[in-house]
Symmetry: C2
Subunit: 341 residues, 2 copies
Amino acid sequence: MAVTIKDVAALANVAPSTVSRVIADSPRISEETKQKVKKAMEQLGYHPNLNARNLASQSTQVLGLVMPSSKDVGFQNPFFPAVLQGISEGAREKNYALQMSTGKSEREVLDAVIQMVQGKRVDGVILLYSNVDDQVISYLKEQKFPFVLIGKPYIDIEEITHVDNDNVRAAKDATDYLIGYGHEKIGFIGGSAELMVTVDRVSGYKQALINAGLEITNEYMIHEEFLREGGQEAVRELMALEHPPTALVVADDFMALGVLNTLDELGIRVPDDLSIVSFNNVLLAEMARPPLTSVDINIFELGYQASKNLIVMVENRNEPTKRLIISHQIIERLSCSKPNP
Amino acid sequence: MAVTIKDVAALANVAPSTVSRVIADSPRISEETKQKVKKAMEQLGYHPNLNARNLASQSTQVLGLVMPSSKDVGFQNPFFPAVLQGISEGAREKNYALQMSTGKSEREVLDAVIQMVQGKRVDGVILLYSNVDDQVISYLKEQKFPFVLIGKPYIDIEEITHVDNDNVRAAKDATDYLIGYGHEKIGFIGGSAELMVTVDRVSGYKQALINAGLEITNEYMIHEEFLREGGQEAVRELMALEHPPTALVVADDFMALGVLNTLDELGIRVPDDLSIVSFNNVLLAEMARPPLTSVDINIFELGYQASKNLIVMVENRNEPTKRLIISHQIIERLSCSKPNP
DNA sequence: GACTAGGTGGAAAATGTTTACCTCTAGATT
DNA sequence: AATCTAGAGGTAAACATTTTCCACCTAGTC
C-alpha cells in the first residue's frame, strides 16, 4: 500500500528498527545514520501510520473532549468556542490531537466516552461540564483513566483534578462592586440551580450581602434555564415587586442579553434605573447595549490549563490530583451606575 | 494487558476469527455460536481495541474537522457551535467519531491536516471554511482524499463536493423583502470581500436592485471584518451620506448586533428610521433589540448533510462529486417596516 | 592478548484486529 | 457410490509500528 517504515529501511540500507528510532530521535543512532534515513524518508514521502504506532506503543497522543449533550441549550453559549480555543492551543503545543464526543442524551454521551476510552482512542479526557451525579465521571474514576474537569465537581472534590474559577469570590466581587456604587437592593439571576457555577455564584452573592449587612431576599433570586420566554416572565415579576432591585448580578453574558431586552420592553433603563454586572466577558458583553460590565473569567486560560495539565497527568500516571483556580477580573463598561434615588 | 479477542475466543472455545465475525455480526456465524461468544465477551468485559481494528481494516470510522485558524475572529461566531451540532449528529448516526484540528496560522492548520490524513487517523475531512487559494484543499485534492466543504469553493467548483446555501438567492430574497416594503435606498454590510459568502450575497443584493430598477450605489456597500471599532466608523459614514439608506442587508446576525449598537448611538431607530435584514438566524437574532428579521440558512442542516455525505463518499470511493444546496427562509421579526417618508 | 565497556545497529517478538483461504461435515446430485 | 455444494468455523497472514534482547565493533584496561 502506502510507503512504510520497511521501504524506508530498504532504501536507506538499515533495519526497520533503526528507522523507528530515527523517528523517535533516539540517541542510540548516530547523526550520520539519522541523516541517511531522513533523506530516504524524504525521498519516499514517508509518513508514519499513527494507528500502527498507537497499537504498538499503547498510547495515542489524542485527548478526548466531552461536550454536554447537544440538545442542551448551553451548547449555544459562546463559552464553548472560547474554551475550545484554549484547549486546542494547549494540546497543539504538545502535539496532541483532539477528539470530540457528543450525544443527544446523557446516555449517548456516556456510550461515546466508553467507546473512546475502552477503544483506546484517547489517552485522557477533558470534561466540559459536570452534572449532578455524573455517570461519565463515575466511569472514568472507576477506570482510573486520566481526566480533568472544567468547572467544579459535585462530589469527591479532592479526588478530581479540575480547573475552575473561584466563582464564590467572583460573585462576591461582582456584588461588592455594585454595593460600592451604593446599591442595597441587589437581585441575582442565574442558570439552573443544579449547576455548580450557579451554586457558587449564588453563595458569593449572598456572602457579599451579608458582609455588607444587607438583607437576603428570596424574591430577588431567579433561576432560569435560559432567558427567553420563561426567563422574560421571571424578570417581569422581579421588577414588579413592591421594592424592585436597583441592581442585578446576572450569571452569564448571554443571559444578560436576554435580561437587557426584557428590561427595554419594560421601559427600564440600564444603567440609569438598574445596574447590571454579568459574567464571562465574551465578545457579546462588548456588543450589548449598553456594553456590559462583566467579570472576565479567562475562558481561554481555563481550557489551556485543562489540556496542559491533562497531558501532564497522561505522561506521568501518578501525578497527584490538583485543583487549578484561574483568576478573574471585573471589566468595567457601561452597565453600572449609582442607584437612582 | 487488557482483555483481547483471544481471551474471549479461549473462553468461548472458538477461534479468534469467529469472535471477530461475531463483532461484525457476520452471517457466517450461527446464532448459537454468536450467543456463546457474546456471553463470553460480557463475562470478560471485552471491548475491541480500535487502533488494532483500524490498522487491520485500513479504516477508522473517524471524520476530521478542519476549523479556520483559531486566531480568526470568525471562530467566535455562533455559526460554529451550530454547524458542529449538525455534523456531529450526522456522524453519530453512522457511528463515526469526530477529530478536530485547529491551528493558529494557516500553516499550522495545514500541518495538522497532513498529520490526520497521512497518519491515517481519519477516513474523510470536513472543511468548515475556505480561503482563496486554499492549501488544504489543494492538498486533499492531490491526495484524492475524501472531503466535503461547507460553503462554496473558489475554484474547481464542479470537482469539489460541497454543501452550501444558495446565497445569491438568499440575498436576493432578503433584498426583495425590503423592496417589498417600499425601500429604494438599501445598503449592504458584509464581511471580508474575500469570502465566497460575501461575494454571493453582494451579488444577490445587486441582482435584486437591478431587477427592481433601482440604482446600485457604491457608497452603500461596506465590507468589514467585524463590527467593532472599525465597523462602527463605517456605519457612521454610511448614515452620514447625503441620502443615507433607509434599509440595510447585513451579512450576519453577529454583525447586525454591532450595527444595531452603532445605530443606537447615532439615535437612529430600528425599524422606524431604518430597516434591517440579516443572515443566519442564530439564537442571537431572536435576542437582539429589536429582534432581527433574519434569513435562516439552516446551519444545522448544513453540518448534518456535510457529514452524511462525507460518509457516503468514504464508504463508496467513487461517489461522484456533488453540490448540496440547503434551503433558506426569511424569519420575520421586528427589524423591518416601511420606509419613513 | 583476553576482557570489558560503550556506541551502533539488527532480528524478532509483540501490539490486537481483520480477512483470504482452507477444512470439515452433512446432505444433495448425478 | 462418487462427487458437489453449502454452511460453519478454523489457520495464519497481514496491517505498520515499537521495543526487548542480542550482536558486533572499536578502544581502552589489566
